[in-house]
Symmetry: C4
Subunit: 208 residues, 4 copies
């Protein structure tokens, strides 16, 4: 296969992934059903109806941030890749399968707030996505895919980042079992994990 062709294959893979991320992130909203009140309902009734949707709004924004973060990681990693390799195809597809599944776990959690099972399911889905994302990142930043422009520091940085997401998601799974009400708060441990990892194996912060 000509060199130009393989670059095009990489572009197309990235494109397809972008589309799946974009659709999954935008589909989140159709799980929130607009309340329909009788005509001339007082404003108070509307505020109540919206207040009841709080878990759905929260779910929307958290999942938007989560999928957005996975997309940004994908974006960051593939900027370091220079060549296409079929080895990435299966792992990337598996990652997309979990991302496209997020609207379901989000809707399930939002309609059953504070319950343990939906919280665990949500966090496990995130953990699986984090593990697959780590694998995709590893393949994309290893030969033969890694580009010439990528420095060892860049690579160490994106890898440490994806490890911190795995640890944060695992923390969230733990929270979900013990205190399901605040399972997603486990995610805020991600920057914490990143800092700890930076202590253990110091790496200079990359441009991003």
């Amino acid at each position: 296969m000509a060199a130009g062709k393989t670059d095009h294959a990489l572009e197309r893979l990235v494109f397809f992934s972008d589309a799946v991320f974009a659709i999954a992130i935008t589909l989140l909203v159709i799980e929130i059903h607009a309340p329909h009140l009788p005509r001339r309902s007082p404003d108070m009734a509307h505020w109540h109806a919206l207040a009841e949707l709080t878990p759905s709004f929260l779910g929307y924004f958290i999942s938007f941030a989560v999928i957005g973060a996975f997309w940004m990681a994908h974006h960051r990693v593939f900027a370091l890749a220079g060549r296409y390799s079929p080895r990435i195809l299966g792992w990337n597809m598996a990652l997309l399968g979990v991302i496209a599944f997020m609207p379901f776990v989000t809707a399930y959690l939002a309609s059953n707030m504070n319950a343990r099972v939906p919280a665990v399911l949500y966090c496990v889905a995130m953990l699986v996505a984090a593990l697959l994302s780590m694998k995709v990142n590893r393949v994309a930043t290893s030969p033969p895919m890694v580009g010439e422009g990528a420095t060892g520091e860049d690579i160490a940085y994106v890898r440490a980042r994806s490890l911190s997401v795995v640890l944060g998601a695992a923390t969230a799974v733990g929270f979900a079992f013990l205190i399901p009400e605040i399972a997603q708060a486990g995610l805020i441990s991600i920057p914490l994990w990143r800092r700890i990892l930076a202590r253990v194996r110091p790496i200079a912060p990359a441009a991003d």
Copy 2:
């Protein structure tokens, strides 16, 4: 990171944004439920059923125009950007989050026409989108992102435009509180604001 890479990162960001805009704009229609009438219903019954959907149709077309206008602004601004900077990522994602939320506020407004709360929510969502859009525009047309081809005039023009959208959306929020029935009419103040701004700080109209 190599120069070629960062251009690619900009392209991918633009692409992802386009996809989210396109999906949000196309999802608007699935909130309109097709009426199902008994067989051999007279034509009049059908016209009635359609007439009852007027708020949904109106909502569809106004939101299509609103999201379309935000996309066109995004398009216009990124044509002036030449380089990628990670600084844009978070703001752009926040803007996309509000855009992807528009199908919900549209459906809510359409099923509760003339009520104050849905009108206020709709206009506030638009105002937030306008503010985020202004911030994205500012980052995209400042160093290090701004391209060599962009003239000071081009930049002043897109910035004045995004300010006029913020003022128009703020006017719509005001309308929504006072006369919710015509809240969205506040949007037609946008060209008015643009003209006023042009008086205050005259700028030559750019190619677009």
Copy 3:
């Protein structure tokens, strides 16, 4: 604005349009609701349930073909355009607005087969799309947008094609008023109109 930039603006416009066409065409299917039968229902009951969905299947395939045809026309015309012009933006957005509306008129027609109003609405939507498509085609194949590679013959060909679609859609509107049962059959008049137009103002068939 630099020349390279304006080409990029054209690409992005085409891309955004592609995304809207692709989403509208794929959303058609979610208007068909999968039947759910009691366990151990005989095969016959399933065939019956599917038979009742015939109008939905028909609607799906016809609308898929219709949107697909509009996309192919868009594809064909923009292959002749070489430069971006902001003049196309509004018309193209209006065209996309009608295309994104097709899932609604399809679902309405499918749930009210043989009724006049849904048939008329469907065909009018198609006629409006055809008129907007003709306008978009005209702008894209006129200065300043038309590319150097486009010959007079290529341009005459795509324009005659879009005129034949307008006439075919107008025929379908006529059918819808008189014999709603076979409104969409009016579309098969498109190749007929193309042949008539070719007689009136003969043009050599282009590559496509």
Copy 4:
């Protein structure tokens, strides 16, 4: 038409196809409805509710894999194509029409597990997709579309692959008639068929 233009037409076709594949694959999830249980339901009730969704989950993952496999095949074949030809347009559109239809057959099968008709319909849809995919592959790897970089071996490889998918889908249709409970298991015959084909007409495995 200039040479550069026709390459752009190929890119746009590939792009549009990618978008339809991506949307169809991501829409699969919205057919799974999130269970909503009364507050303070015990964990057991949640596990039960999820267990009842098993067919939907299974359907989601199998269809994700199936659409994903068709996309990967499309990806692989178009990497061998170098030039655009309008001859591919109709066949590719027909393939996309069947792919976009998969969410329906998936939902129908998932809500009527173990019934013969939905299993047959699912497998027939897959068989039609496989046949259309084979035709698209043949056109894309024949003159005038095939690129200079594509070797005879590459072409033989992708063609043998698409034939093995057709045979696997046909096997699945057979299974669906006889033992609908395990219809989709017929798909695992695909690698088997591939091996048999490799015996009959030996071809060296390509890079992918």
